[in-house]
């Protein structure tokens, strides 16, 4: 059977590409109906429904959304909802699509979440480069306000909510939630040591929930379908659908919303049309640049998209939902170097192992990938990696505050796991024969 998309979060934008982002297009396709219901529903019941749905964060870490909300200390106000729209994980492009093509779904999700956690001011931290997304989200907020879905006494419920959109300015690290809060406070985006966790002391040291754009975009549908019903989609603890952003050497790259439990093969072949020129897959990177890699074997391709199962078996994560696919013409060392260059550039510099380590990993991978490697280089890289990420295992143990440093080790570990012989031979001068 050929796999198909299950369009829930992407339904409006796929069905009404001509006006999905406008207030008229959104209202004509059911926008804010879930909010109206939510505002008449007991807060605890909404939280219970989201818990029953099994919804987990779609930004990368996959933490259960309802549980995140439940950490807010009782009776402590004001509380803030901060929306993470700083999509910067290489090869992830789902949140940009959601902001540009369905901003009202985000606004509705924010309003439902804010009502549930009793928050009257939400901040959307939007990646600075998303100029069109910013315009459309600002317009959506203004239009929603004019229609009485935001602002004071929303739909006569007595609930007030203001949304501020805060543009980032080109720093990947601000996708890390505590760095994001620093940036929102007007500081350099450097992660905070936890505890205290944001739920206790977040934005302006007040209780704060940070949720990803896709996570919040799912809430209107959980309200509409009921948590139990939504939770029937997917597999085990990976419930519902997720948007997978597939890029690289597939014939039809793009965002595909599928039920969790779909296999990589179904995603890459049934939906993305297979590999260019019908070549073989050399390797693919699930979950974004931070994840380790998977080989192009049948066993790897037949692995289901299950947030829990991929870790123990392959040492990878589904992370941000990106899947980068490389055919058999690809030089894996070059890909590893470019990823390392990214992490070296984006390291905020707060923790020494990451600040120094990412730079050295980049330099050594440069010489390996550009024909100047030495036979011992790969082992040296593993040794450097071990100082950032002791044990070199996923999930990370780390000598740094945030996972950026350990993420830079993922390409190194992956090269060693799947391409050790190829790398060593690249680094060994050909024997000179007389």
């Amino acid at each position: 059977m050929t796999a198909v998309e299950t369009r829930i979060v992407t339904k409006r934008l796929r069905e009404r590409p001509e006006d999905s982002w406008t207030i008229d297009g959104a209202l004509a396709s059911g926008a804010y109906e879930s909010l109206v219901v939510a505002l008449k529903t007991d807060r605890a019941a909404i939280q219970e429904s989201v818990k029953a749905s099994g919804l987990r964060g779609r930004g990368g870490a996959g933490f259960p959304a309802a549980q995140k909300w439940s950490f807010l200390p009782a009776g402590s106000y004001p509380r803030y909802l901060v929306v993470n729209g700083d999509e910067g994980e290489p090869s992830t492009f789902k949140d940009r699509m959601l902001v540009e093509c369905d901003p009202h779904q985000i606004v509705e999700g924010i309003a439902i979440a804010a009502y549930t956690i009793e928050c009257n001011q939400a901040f959307v931290y939007l990646r600075g480069e998303f100029a069109l997304g910013y315009e459309r989200l600002m317009q959506a907020i203004a239009d929603a306000k004019a229609k009485g879905f935001l602002g004071e006494n929303i739909q006569g419920s007595g609930f007030d909510l203001e949304i501020v959109v805060h543009r980032g300015a080109g720093a990947y690290i601000c996708g890390e939630e505590t760095a994001l809060l620093e940036s929102l406070e007007g500081e350099r985006g450097m992660p905070r040591i936890r505890p205290p966790f944001p739920a206790i002391e977040g934005l302006y040291a007040k209780p704060t929930v940070v949720n990803n754009i896709e996570t919040l975009s799912t809430l209107p549908h959980i309200m509409r379908m009921g948590g139990e019903e939504y939770g029937k989609l997917g597999v085990d603890r990976s419930t519902g659908t997720r948007i997978f952003a597939v890029s690289g050497h597939v014939k039809k790259p793009g965002n595909y919303e599928v039920e969790l439990g779909t296999t990589f093969r179904e995603l890459l072949y049934d939906l993305c049309g297979g590999i260019r020129d019908d070549r073989g897959v050399k390797f693919f990177i699930p979950g974004g640049a931070s994840s380790q890699w998977m080989p192009g074997t049948d066993e790897a391709l037949d692995t289901p998209l299950d947030m829990d199962a991929v870790g123990p078996k392959w040492g990878v994560m589904l992370g941000s939902g990106a899947v980068m696919v490389y055919d058999d013409t690809t030089n894996p060392a070059l890909v590893a170097w470019r990823l390392a260059k990214f992490f070296a550039h984006e390291s905020c510099g707060k923790c020494t192992p990451c600040r120094e380590g990412t730079g050295w990993i980049e330099k050594v991978l440069y010489r390996i990938s550009h024909g100047e490697g030495r036979p011992q280089d790969l082992d040296m890289l593993l040794s450097v990696g071990n100082t950032i990420c002791p044990g070199l295992n996923a999930p990370f143990s780390q000598t740094t505050i945030c996972p950026l440093g350990p993420s830079a080790v993922s390409p190194v570990v992956s090269l060693n796991k799947y391409f050790r012989d190829e790398i060593i031979s690249m680094c060994t001068p050909a024997t000179v024969t007389a």
Partner: protein, 163 residues
């Protein structure tokens, strides 16, 4: 340069949105940059006085973020992605070609950037934060030329609305 009266009003409205004024540093820096074409020391000084912190604090924050250009750039900022999905589909070739073509053009600044979240259209670039997808070196140059000739109308240097 100082904020125009109109932008000064906009700046005060932005500051008022936040529980603490210092939060407005990033949005005000975008505003200043769209107005002036870059983020000057004078611009940061004015932001400091508006939000009630020292100029050093504003510079300390702004110098962290790659979108803030503390040296003058051309009217067109061409940001070419060379990250991994663009890497294997010709992004570096687009970057090198544009870099050569516009090396001596004061109106055009070419920069290499990290993933722009448009990998389904790799290789991609942005001109003043407007996306252009599925490029070759030649088509990328043609797009820059369209902006230069006025066929395409650019956003502000920080991605702000077109004038």
């Amino acid at each position: 340069m100082a904020f125009s009266p109109e932008n000064l009003r906009a700046a005060r409205e932005i500051i008022a949105q936040y529980p603490r004024p210092k939060s407005a540093i990033l949005p005000l820096a975008h505003l200043a940059q769209d107005q002036d074409g870059w983020l000057s020391t004078e611009g940061m000084d004015e932001i400091a006085s508006l939000v009630g912190v020292t100029p050093a604090e504003v510079q300390g924050t702004c110098s962290f973020y790659t979108m803030f250009k503390r040296d003058q750039v051309g009217k067109l900022l061409v940001s070419v992605c060379t990250n991994v999905s663009c890497l294997v589909l010709g992004g570096p070739e687009v970057y090198e070609h544009l870099n050569e073509q516009y090396a001596a053009d004061p109106d055009v600044t070419i920069e290499e950037v990290e993933c722009l979240a448009a990998c389904d259209g790799a290789p991609c670039l942005q001109v003043n934060y407007e996306y252009h997808l599925g490029l070759t070196p030649e088509s990328a140059e043609a797009i820059v030329e369209q902006y230069k000739s006025g066929t395409l109308h650019a956003r502000g240097i920080s991605g702000g609305a077109r004038a």
